[in-house]
C-alpha cells in the first residue's frame, strides 16, 4: 500500500468518527440556530449645535436691563445618539469682567426663556430634548438668554458668564454629560445725566438787580461708567405775556461754586468745565453742582419772564 492510499484511508476514518460523535451527541447536521441577546441601555449624549462653546450675544449698557441680543443668545442643546428624552438642566456662574476677574456681578442677573432666573444650582428648565431614534439620531431644543441686567457702575468691557447644561430623564434616571457655554457680552461705556431741580425761580427782581450765582442745580450720573463733560446753552429771557419782549441770554451767569459773578450763558452749547466722574460698582452714583445767577437789565419791561437752559452730558 502506498503512503497516499494510507493517508486517504486515515482521513476517511477521521471524518466518519467525527460524524458518529456528532450524532451521538444529538446534533443534526443541518439548520443550526444561534440565539443572540443584548440589553441596550438608556443613554443621553449632550452637545451644543456645531460644537459651539463661545456665544457672543452683543452689547449691553450699565444700570439697564439689556435684551436686544443677537442670535447667539439662542443656545441649541442636542442629544446626539442617545435613546431617551431629556429635560434640559441649567446652572451658571457670575458674570466676570475679562480684564479684571475680581469685577463680577451675579448669576441671577441673567434671565432665560423670557422669565426664568438663572441660578448657580442646577435647575430644570422645563425644556425637553426628544429621544433620538435610529432614523433621526440627533434631537435638539433651545434655551434663549432673554435679558441681562448690568448693575450700575460696572466698567466697559467684555464680560463672560459660564452656563452649564445637561439632560436628565426622570423615568430612567439617566443623566447626560455636562456641557458648558461661555456667554460673552460687551458692556458699553455710558454716561447718564439726571438733573434736579428742573426749574429755578428768581422771584421778583427790580431792573438793574444782580442775583448772586447761588441757585443750585445738581447733576447726577446714576449708574453710568464713564466720565462726562457738561455742556450748557440757553435762550433769551422772554416775557410770558408778550414774547416779543426779551432780554439777552448772557444776563444769566453760571459757575461750579457759589460766587458773586459767573460765566455769562451763551446760546450755543459750551463746555462748562464741570465734569461728572465715572461711577463704579462701589460708588454707583456720582454728582456735581452748577449754580446760576441773574442780572435784570435796566429798562426791562415789567412782567413774568422765562428762560430755557439746557444741560448736556457728553462722553
Amino acid at each position: 500500500m502506498t503512503s497516499t492510499k494510507a493517508t486517504a484511508i486515515a482521513l476517511i476514518g477521521l471524518l466518519l468518527s467525527t460524524s458518529m460523535l456528532y450524532i451521538a451527541k444529538g446534533y443534526t447536521s443541518s439548520n443550526q440556530l444561534i440565539t443572540a441577546t443584548a440589553n441596550v441601555l438608556t443613554a443621553i449624549y449632550a452637545y451644543f449645535a456645531n460644537n459651539q462653546t463661545n456665544y457672543y450675544i452683543g452689547t449691553a449698557n450699565p444700570n439697564a436691563i439689556n435684551s436686544n441680543f443677537n442670535t447667539n443668545s439662542i443656545i441649541t442643546i442636542q442629544d446626539r445618539g442617545g435613546n431617551v428624552a431629556g429635560n434640559i438642566i441649567i446652572y451658571g456662574g457670575n458674570w466676570i469682567n475679562q480684564a479684571n476677574n475680581a469685577l463680577q456681578f451675579g448669576v441671577s442677573n441673567t434671565i432665560y426663556d423670557s422669565n426664568k432666573v438663572l441660578s448657580s444650582t442646577p435647575t430644570d428648565t422645563g425644556v425637553i430634548v426628544p429621544a433620538p431614534t435610529i432614523q433621526s439620531y440627533i434631537k435638539s431644543n433651545t434655551i434663549t438668554i432673554s435679558s441681562v441686567s448690568v448693575p450700575p457702575g460696572y466698567p466697559a468691557g467684555n464680560y463672560t458668564q459660564q452656563i452649564t447644561f445637561y439632560l436628565k430623564n426622570y423615568t430612567y434616571g439617566t443623566t447626560s454629560n455636562q456641557i458648558t457655554a461661555n456667554v460673552i457680552m460687551y458692556v458699553n461705556g455710558v454716561c447718564y445725566l439726571y438733573i434736579y431741580p428742573n426749574t429755578i425761580s428768581f422771584n421778583s427782581l427790580a431792573p438793574g438787580h444782580y442775583t448772586p450765582v447761588n441757585s443750585l442745580v445738581s447733576l447726577y450720573d446714576n449708574g453710568g461708567n464713564t466720565q462726562a463733560q457738561i455742556f450748557i446753552s440757553g435762550g433769551n429771557w422772554i416775557n410770558q405775556a408778550n414774547n416779543a419782549l426779551q432780554f439777552g441770554v448772557s444776563n444769566t451767569t453760571y459757575n461750579s461754586i457759589v460766587s458773586s459773578y459767573g460765566t455769562p450763558l451763551t446760546s450755543t452749547p459750551t463746555p462748562t468745565g464741570i465734569t461728572l466722574a465715572a461711577p463704579s460698582p462701589t460708588n454707583p452714583s456720582t454728582s456735581n453742582s452748577i449754580y446760576f445767577g441773574l442780572h435784570i437789565p435796566y429798562g426791562t419791561y415789567p412782567g413774568y419772564y422765562k428762560q430755557q437752559i439746557y444741560l448736556y452730558t457728553s462722553c
Binding site: 441671577s108 448693575p151 447718564y192 439726571y194 425761580s201 447726577y220 454707583p284 428762560q307
Partner: protein, 232 residues
C-alpha cells in the same frame, strides 16, 4: 470681590433702577470719527438712552462745525432728527457725513458737536429758568483722497502680460514638442526604410528632413560612383 457684596448687587441694582423717578438720559461713550473719501458718504450711529420711566421726545441737531477757510464744509445730516424714546430703551440716530468733492479738502479735518434736547414744557408763573437736559456728541471729519486708479491699472496690465507670456510659452512649447516628435518619427521611419532597403517616398511636410534625405541619397550615389570608378 466680597461674595456677600456680589449677592447684594442685584438688589442694589433693582433699588437703583426704580429710585430714578425722574428721567435720566445718557449716551454711549466715544466720539464719532468720520473718515470719508472725497465725494463719498459715511454714516455712524449715535446712541441715546432713556433711563427714565416715561417716554421722552427729543430733537437732535448739528450744533456746531468748525470752519476752515477756502474749503467746502462737509454736509452733516441726522436721521431721525426728532422722535420718541420709549422708557428704559434707546435709539440709534444715524449721522451721515457727505464729503465735498474738491481735492483742496483732502487731509482737512473738521470738528463739531451734535446735540439732542429733551423737550418738556413746564409752566410756572414767575421769573424762572426752565432747566432742560440732553446729550451732546463730539465728532470729527477727516477727508481722505480716493484710492489711486493708476496702481490697480499697472497691476492689471502686468497680470495681462504675464498671462499672455505664459500662454505663449505653453503654445510655443507644444509646437516645439510636436516638431521634434515629427522629426524623430521621420528619422526613425527613414532609418527603418534604409535598413529594409525600401525606396524613400517623398516626405514634403518637413523641409529640413527632406534636405537631410537628399543629402543622404547623394552620398549614396557618390558612393556608387566611387565604386564604379574603382572597378574601372
Amino acid at each position: 470681590m466680597n461674595k456677600d457684596f456680589a449677592k447684594l448687587i442685584p438688589l442694589i441694582f433693582i433699588i437703583f433702577a426704580f429710585s430714578i423717578s425722574n428721567a435720566q438720559i445718557g449716551e454711549i461713550a466715544g466720539p464719532l470719527n468720520f473718515n470719508v473719501t472725497l465725494g463719498h458718504k459715511e454714516s455712524l450711529n449715535w446712541t441715546i438712552i432713556n433711563q427714565g420711566n416715561s417716554t421722552l421726545y427729543y430733537v437732535a441737531s448739528l450744533d456746531y462745525i468748525s470752519n476752515i477757510t477756502n474749503t467746502t464744509t462737509p454736509a452733516v445730516s441726522i436721521y431721525p432728527s426728532n422722535g420718541y424714546i420709549s422708557p428704559r430703551s434707546y435709539i440709534n440716530i444715524r449721522v451721515t457725513v457727505q464729503a465735498p468733492n474738491d481735492y483742496r479738502d483732502v487731509g482737512k479735518e473738521w470738528e463739531g458737536i451734535l446735540i439732542a434736547k429733551i423737550i418738556n414744557n413746564v409752566t410756572y408763573n414767575a421769573t424762572y429758568v426752565s432747566i432742560g437736559y440732553g446729550v451732546a456728541k463730539q465728532f470729527s471729519i477727516t477727508i481722505s483722497k480716493p484710492q489711486s486708479l493708476i496702481a490697480p491699472l499697472v497691476v492689471l496690465i502686468a497680470a495681462i502680460l504675464i498671462i499672455a507670456y505664459i500662454a505663449y510659452m505653453i503654445v510655443h512649447h507644444a509646437h516645439k514638442r510636436r516638431e521634434t516628435y515629427e522629426e524623430e518619427r521621420y528619422l526613425k521611419k527613414h532609418e527603418l526604410r534604409n535598413m529594409l532597403n525600401i525606396k524613400e517616398p517623398g516626405y514634403s511636410s518637413i523641409k529640413v528632413s527632406k534636405r537631410a534625405v537628399k543629402g543622404k541619397s547623394k552620398s549614396k550615389r557618390s558612393r556608387s560612383r566611387k565604386a564604379s570608378k574603382r572597378k574601372r
